[in-house]
Amino acid sequence: MTALRPARLRPTDLARIGTAGLRARPARAILAALGIAIGIATMVTVVGISASSQEKLLRQLDELGTNLLRVSPGDSLFGTSVKLPENAAAMVKRLDGVTNAGQTADTGTTVRRNDLIPTGISLGITVQAADLNLLATIDGRVRQGTWLNAATERQPVVVLGSVAAERLGLVIPDGQVWINNRWFTVIGVLDKMPLAEEIERSALMGFPAAEKYLSHDGHPTTVYERSTDEAVEGVRAMLARTVMPESPNEAKVSRPSDALKAKAAAAGAFTGLMLGLGAVALLVGGVGVANTMVVAVLERRREIGLRRSFGATRGQIRDQFLVEALLLSLFGGGAGVLLGSLATFGYAQFNSLPTVVPMWAFGGGLGMTVVIGALAGIYPALRAARVPPTVALTAQ
């Protein structure tokens, strides 16, 4: 007489009998998995869209570089306004590692389409003096027309930033604008400049022109500086002392790319509300799977009894239904990940973003469905395991 020990069910056999119920009723399986698919798809889409938006900003940052620094006057100890020296950019340019430097000065006046528009309407455009190096320093491009040169910087002409041109309705450099009670000719319009948004909203003229027509004193309000990547930190430490040797604490140094970086970080932080909605859908989906499995166990009592008569143990019956619930859930999760990725792709295409779905969203999505499937399956599986073997003989 040999010892009795039930044989182990091979994993491949377990997987096969676990799918038998799903294959027998495919429509029901699809509907049961749909809830989970919707939940996972929502979550993957939310994560995917924010990751894609972030990726776009990060690529932009890579393209623009992080070696641009900006110096502006800070506050003096006594609260009086601070002025940067007239030759600030020239001094900065002499620093080691600095490749280019340019400066601008806010003139404090407004630009208008013509003399009939009330002075109070500034459209949020600042009129600035700019030196000839500015454009090269901030890596700006002229979209149409030309940049200032040694001749035109003395003339009553302006170059408009992209936003300023749009607001003035002067998309092409053609025509004139009204500044300080006289006409200035628009000779150029600049491209977008994400690292210097204040330039996008400016009308720029030469320093000599500002002095002549607006009586500007020639003191810059912002110095832009670009250096080699390795020199950025060293230059940063030196900038304030270079520009304001006597009171370096009165100069404010900033890195425009930091703002873009912060924007990218913000874009990567997906909205908790949408994620919560996805989680609710997932939960409802899990309840759907549990419900389907409970019904399946009721319907398949005879099959369970038959399997017990073949020699299946309670544990093997339990595992069969647990695997079925897991596969059902995983099937929904897989479909959800696919749908979510497609939705992300569609959104990204529509908004010309790069499509990015992080691997952890894939893994997390599928991991969550496994957990949901196990939770949804455990009660029906235990009920299945408790079905007595005698139903093989009695159930009709």
Binding site: P6, D13, R307, S309, F310, G311, R314, P388, Q396
Partner: protein, 221 residues
């Protein structure tokens, strides 16, 4: 040696006594019928003989194993190794071929898939259906379906076959076919116990056990 020994077995469902102090012994190689009216307790007797249920009192031994000393999973292993079941309603899976239906009966035997299919093919050959391996149940006659079910019951080569009204859903011709199949199997050494209403089946068995009111009333040899 006895393949099945039932000694002083009683089974109660609350106040209903389905079996009262029943003794029944099946020797290896025996073929017997168990007859009796509805409600006589013969189905309960088969459930207990097949270890699908445990008696309220008394001892049941299958191939020498005392059922009361076995855990539920050991009982499962015992069924897988020693007992084959044949049911009145065949209990075939409609989506599977005859071969897969028979092979699935061996799922819990520990055999590999290839071994299961080989044994299933051999069992279907034994019941005379080697030309129907790829047919699904709806493509088979009632008699053929029951023969597939018998093949499934004996594919694991159990020493004991328990049948519950195996001809109950068949016409007389198909019933006779199944009965002659049982005789062939018995001639090969399998012990067979058949619960039946069918007097032809009962008469064809060398030994008949009559059950009435939960008691084994008479044995006709």
């Amino acid at each position: 040696m006895n393949i099945l020994e039932i000694r002083g077995v009683s089974k109660s469902y609350g106040r209903v006594h389905a079996l009262r102090n029943v003794d029944l012994t099946v020797r290896r190689g025996e073929m017997l019928s168990i007859v009796g009216p509805s409600g006589s307790g013969k189905s309960t007797l088969l459930q207990i003989a097949g270890t699908l249920d445990r008696p309220t009192s008394g001892t049941v031994r299958v191939a020498g194993h005392d059922v009361s000393r076995l855990s539920d999973s050991q009982l499962s292993a015992l069924r897988a190794r020693y007992i084959g079941f044949v049911f009145q309603q065949f209990h075939l899976s409609p989506g599977l071929t005859a071969l897969d239906n028979v092979a699935d009966g061996l799922l819990y035997s520990g055999l590999s898939k290839r071994q299961r299919r080989e044994r299933a093919a051999a069992a279907l050959d034994l019941v005379g259906l080697s030309h129907r391996l790829g047919h699904r149940p709806y493509q088979l006659s009632g008699g053929q379906m029951q023969r597939v079910a018998v093949a499934r019951a004996v594919a694991g080569r159990p020493p004991l076959l328990l049948a519950d009204e195996p001809t109950g859903n068949l016409d007389s011709e198909a019933g006779a076919e199944v009965l002659s199949l049982f005789r062939t199997l018995n001639a090969r050494g399998i012990s067979i116990a058949i619960i039946t209403h069918d007097s032809e089946v009962a008469v064809a068995c060398p030994r008949r056990v009559r059950v009435r009111d939960g008691l084994v009333r008479s044995e006709v040899s």
